[in-house]
């Protein structure tokens, strides 16, 4: 009797869990859909007004009702690229140092520090950027300043996630390489990186997502210059989230619709970036799994 009771109970738990999982998943999807629908609806007027020029033209003048978002899209991608170029090597290096090289007495405080940094509010980084980078180091307000700030902001989270991913490399995988006479670097190349590849791309993507959507820090140091499409990192520019943060409060009508359209664009870009990343990761995992 007891056995059959046990059986029934575990079945119940199983079903409850499944229901819960389905409900949670649907809720997320419904919320996402709702956001997309309401936002798109309110972005529609400006898209009707500007057509595709919204994405391809470069003038943004609220008083004249001209909204060309290209410089902001460019600025977002440009600063995010600078941020990744700076943050990824540093993050990976630090994560590898912590997991593979650092002695235990150093490892603990470093991990603690990183996890702390990962949760520092972005406005703190932004102010630091204004005070130290643009004023003290004379970088001014520019794509580069914004890129550096974003890099500083996303480095802890990328490092923190990378460290966790790398830490999951089984000891036996590492020993496999070491037992063949590999040095530490060769071991990292043979065991740690292939094992962690997917997770590392995920970590970088999370960092990229944060860099793309970062408002306050970018708004403070990017310079809010209009119409800038240039690869000169010292030029002032603007990015989508910075424009939204700066202009939303006092906007109305078409201007507000244009800002919402920027948000939708940002949303779509972020989703595309993540889908591409997921595809890259899955392909690389499939290849190493050999299926």
């Amino acid at each position: 009797m007891q056995l059959s009771e046990l059986h029934a109970r575990s079945q119940h738990a199983d079903r409850a869990f499944r229901v819960l999982a389905v409900v949670a998943a649907t809720t997320v999807l419904v919320v996402l859909a709702l956001i997309t629908v309401t936002m798109s609806k309110r972005a529609w007027p400006v898209l009707e007004h500007m057509g595709l020029d919204f994405f391809t033209s470069s003038r943004w003048s609220a008083p004249e009702g001209i909204y060309g978002a290209l410089p902001f899209i460019f600025g977002t991608l440009f600063t995010a690229t600078i941020a990744l170029a700076l943050a990824v090597p540093v993050s990976l290096g630090v994560a590898l140092f912590i997991t593979q090289v650092a002695p235990p007495w150093l490892k603990k405080p470093m991990v603690y520090l990183l996890d702390l940094l990962a949760v520092v509010p972005s406005v703190v980084f932004g102010l630091w950027g204004v005070l130290v980078l643009s004023q003290h180091f004379g970088l001014g307000r520019s794509f580069l300043t914004a890129g550096i700030i974003l890099a500083v902001m996303i480095t802890p989270i990328i490092t923190s996630l990378s460290r966790e991913v790398i830490e999951t490399t089984p000891q036996t995988d590492k020993e496999a390489a070491l037992a063949l006479g590999a040095t530490r670097w060769e071991m990292i190349g043979a065991s740690v990186l292939p094992h962690s590849k997917g997770g590392l791309v995920g970590a970088v993507m999370l960092g990229l997502g944060r860099a793309l959507g970062e408002t306050i820090a970018a708004a403070l140091v990017i310079g809010s210059a209009l119409g800038q499409i240039t690869l000169d990192p010292y030029a002032s520019g603007n990015s989508m989230p910075a424009v939204i943060a700066n202009e939303f409060g006092e906007s109305d009508g078409m201007h507000k619709s244009a800002l919402i359209a920027l948000a939708v664009t940002l949303f779509v870009i972020t989703i595309i970036v993540n889908l591409v990343a997921t595809a890259i990761v899955q392909r690389s995992m499939r290849r190493s799994r050999g299926t």
């Binding site: 002695p103 036996t172 020993e175 496999a176 390489a177 063949l180 292939p194 799994r289 050999g290």
Partner: protein, 293 residues
């Protein structure tokens, strides 16, 4: 049991020391077999915990030496001391004399990576790299400086053939090693290890995850490889030890009165035939006859 039958007529000397092979009267030892590893009073610690102590034994060239004993007696621990695998475990250290061809393995001038190039290891659980079959085998030669594609191709084929895997995988060398069966993976790990042409191959329960057919193949493989390599194998399988090894070391764990933990000791080390037919120590006899406890 063909080649090893010659050991049958070695006289048993009750008076011989229980530990080590000295004076056991094995003619092969005394006359022509070079000593690969020479251990005296070796102990391995994990932090303050002493996992094995007082090990003294000689591992002979081109022989298969089996380490047996109950779980937790320190077989793996000792095996890893042979190629300085403990270096990567924080807090682990090896004391005592552990010589490899007369050189102190743990001497200040000795490089651990150099040691591991000569003394390879096959692990209990197959652990191929998440890379292609080819890259798995070519990894060792590559880190040892072989970059030439033709040379690498030759090494890969030779190693896979030696590991009796070539025919099964020759058409899919580029596909991932993780897509292979467990037995294939273990043979790939053996191929990977012998691809660097080590002198010694250490194997830690290489067949524990395999079915009898795969086990038989790997045992056959070991006998074939014996002419080229010196093999030290840890096994829980008495029949396996008896079937493949030339010499057997029996370990057990005894309570350490100092800290109330169990420390592994070498009870008896001798020619396999003798260990299994006529052990000197009662504990060995109890263990191999299944009366352990």
């Amino acid at each position: 049991m063909t080649a090893d039958d010659s050991h049958d007529d070695i006289p048993v000397q009750r008076a011989a020391p229980r530990i080590g092979h000295r004076g056991s009267g094995d003619p092969q030892v005394a006359i022509d077999t070079p000593v690969v590893f020479d251990l005296e009073d070796v102990a391995v610690y994990y932090g303050a915990f002493r996992a094995v102590r007082g090990v003294a034994m000689k591992v002979l060239k081109n022989q298969i030496t089996a380490l047996i004993g109950p779980s937790g007696c320190g077989k793996t621990t000792l095996l890893r001391a042979f190629n300085r695998m403990h270096d990567v475990i924080p807090g682990a250290r090896v004391t005592g004399k552990l010589q490899y061809h007369g050189i102190d393995l743990y001497g200040p001038q000795v490089s651990a990576t150099e040691v591991r190039r000569r003394i390879g290891m096959v692990f209990q659980k197959p652990n191929p790299f998440p890379k292609s079959i080819y890259d798995n085998v070519a990894f060792g030669p590559r880190v040892n400086g072989t970059k030439n594609k033709i040379e690498l191709d030759a090494i890969v084929e030779k190693s896979l053939r030696a590991a009796a895997l070539w025919d099964e995988v020759k058409d899919r060398l580029g596909s991932s090693a993780l897509g292979m069966s467990g037995g294939q993976q273990q043979r790939l790990c053996i191929a990977r290890t012998i691809a660097v042409e080590p002198e010694v191959v250490l194997m830690d329960e290489p067949c524990s995850a395999l079915d009898p057919i795969a086990t038989a193949r790997i045992e056959e493989l070991m006998r074939e490889l014996k002419s080229r390599f010196t093999i030290v194998i840890v096994t829980h399988n008495m029949q396996q030890a008896a079937r493949v090894s030339d010499r057997t070391a029996f370990f057990t764990a005894e309570l350490d009165s100092a800290n109330d933990r169990r420390t592994g000791i070498l009870v008896e080390y001798d020619v396999t035939q003798k260990i299994f037919s006529n052990p000197s120590d009662e504990r060995t006899e109890n263990y191999i006859t299944g009366r352990f406890g």
